[in-house]
């Protein structure tokens, strides 16, 4: 590790911290069936780890998803459900 003068940090380096490890039980499953691409899940994800463009293409990067459940709760067409990590 290098300490710069004044401890100036480089941009976006938090990506090395895979916060997906925080999940204890629930993770989101994107059914990709009734999705209207309203983008609300992607907009309101605190981690910014939901991606998608067209209908039924949305998914969450589980490397960062903390399992908060906002996406499943907010989806206006119930196309996301929280499922247990343990199969």
């Amino acid at each position: 590790m290098k300490l710069t003068v004044g401890l100036v940090a480089r941009p976006g380096t938090s990506r090395a911290n895979k916060t997906g490890g925080w999940r204890s039980d629930k993770l989101p499953r994107f059914l990709q069936a009734k999705c209207t691409a309203c983008d609300l899940c992607a907009l309101t994800c605190p981690e910014g780890c939901i991606f998608g463009e067209d209908k039924n293409t949305y998914w969450a990067d589980l490397d960062y998803c903390k399992g908060c459940g906002i996406c499943a709760n907010i989806c206006p067409v119930d196309d996301i459900e929280m499922i247990s990590e343990v199969c």
Partner: protein
């Protein structure tokens, strides 16, 4: 340029302007206000192009120059006393962020009780902050040390803020002959500021991240090493100064008639002028007395001070501040410089001049003869006999 009889505040303002700061923050406090007023007038007359920010507190004055410095421009501000104390949180922060903010501190006592007159308690209280500290004997040094401070602070091996300390009222409000250099000369001595890192959307960086225990110590160690490095940077800058401006500068310290002295007075700032007069008088009477003026207080040039004083029998350190509950800050550090040496000189510490109390030649002569008889630990000189001090036995 030939010396002109000008007020200290004007000399300092002209020097600051010559350094081409692009952002200046200003908040009034006696006895520094005269400096920022001069700068405001220069800008109002189109003689200086800078953003002049009239802030609503000194905490903000320091924060404004912090933000501007981090954005990659040279900055300036000035303060005294309570203002410096209010800035102190930010100054520690600026030092830790390694930004070369330079400011003039017109030294003034600290409250309570409220007192607007000169002593050095304000800047001395910041001695742990990581800021470089220079003390001017006269208004020529108030100018010269400001130029030097920018040069040293902005050196990539240093990158620390700097306080240029000038005794309040005694210097800013006094008229002295001062040689304020030409812009060409200043530009030759002080090139444009080149930041190490800066806030810029084209190269985004994060300033002020927090550091856990596993790396905070290293960050502070880096600052200690930068302070140590500053000694050689100051020496080199002093040599360059002499070449560019064609006149000498005492960048770290000045030895006055020390060569065969057996008694030395040590002090910082304008009182050195009075001390030099006493030295001259006593020398004419055959006493082997000399003076050591400390110019750079932080970093503390311990080695050089040791060598300058090691032949002395008697050292008298005059502090214009007191570390209450302990003693004179400068005296304490001078004594420490002789820790472990085989035949340490007798070091007397006196506290003088607090709150603008005059220090006369008579006082200094009295201190010298007293010190020659007995070592003083931390003696408050010239305390009034005609006052009853409640609670004091």
């Amino acid at each position: 340029m030939a010396p002109r009889m000008i007020r200290g505040a004007q000399a300092v303002a002209e020097a600051a302007a010559l350094c081409r700061p692009q952002v200046i923050s200003a908040y009034p406090i006696t006895p520094q206000t005269v400096i920022v007023e001069e700068l405001a007038q220069m800008i109002a007359n189109g003689k200086l192009e800078a953003e002049f920010v009239n802030v609503e507190s000194e905490h903000s004055a320091a924060s404004v120059v912090l933000g501007a410095s981090a954005t990659g421009v040279r900055v300036y501000t000035a303060t005294s006393s309570q203002g410096l104390l209010l800035m102190s949180e930010v100054l520690y922060n600026i030092a830790g962020m390694r930004l070369p903010v330079v400011l003039t501190c017109a030294n003034r006592s600290v409250s309570a009780p409220l007192n607007i007159w000169n002593d050095q308690q304000d800047s001395i209280s910041l001695r742990d902050s990581g800021c470089l500290q220079f003390y001017a004997e006269n208004n020529q040094e108030a100018v010269d040390l400001l130029l030097l401070a920018y040069r040293v602070a902005e050196d990539h091996g240093v990158m620390l803020p700097a306080l240029v300390c000038v005794d309040g009222f005694l210097l800013p409000h006094a008229y002295e002959a001062v040689d304020v250099p030409e812009p060409k000369e200043v530009d030759a001595f002080l090139p444009p500021y080149q930041p190490l890192y800066r806030l810029d959307p084209d190269e985004p960086l994060t300033f002020g991240a927090y550091a856990e225990p596993d790396k905070y110590m290293e960050a502070r160690y880096m600052m200690q090493r930068a302070q140590e490095k500053a000694i050689s940077v100051i020496q080199e800058a002093g040599h360059s100064f002499e070449k560019v401006f064609g006149r000498p500068i005492s960048a770290l310290m000045e030895r006055y008639r020390m060569d065969d002295a057996s008694t030395a007075l040590v002090a910082m700032g304008s009182v050195i002028g009075t001390i030099k007069d006493v030295v001259d008088e006593l020398r004419s009477q055959g006493q082997r007395v000399g003076a050591l003026k400390i110019v750079t207080y932080r970093p503390f040039p311990k080695e050089l001070i040791y060598h300058a004083l090691k032949e002395m029998e008697n050292i008298i350190v005059l502090d214009k501040a007191v570390s209450l509950g302990s003693g004179g800050p400068l005296a304490t550090e001078i004594r420490a410089a002789f820790q472990g040496s085989p035949q340490p000189p007798r070091v007397s510490g006196v506290i003088a001049g607090l709150g603008g109390r005059d220090i006369t030649m008579d006082t200094i002569k009295r201190i010298i003869s007293q010190a020659q008889k007995e070592v003083m630990e931390a003696e408050f000189v010239d305390l009034r006999e005609d006052m009853e001090l409640e609670g004091v036995d």
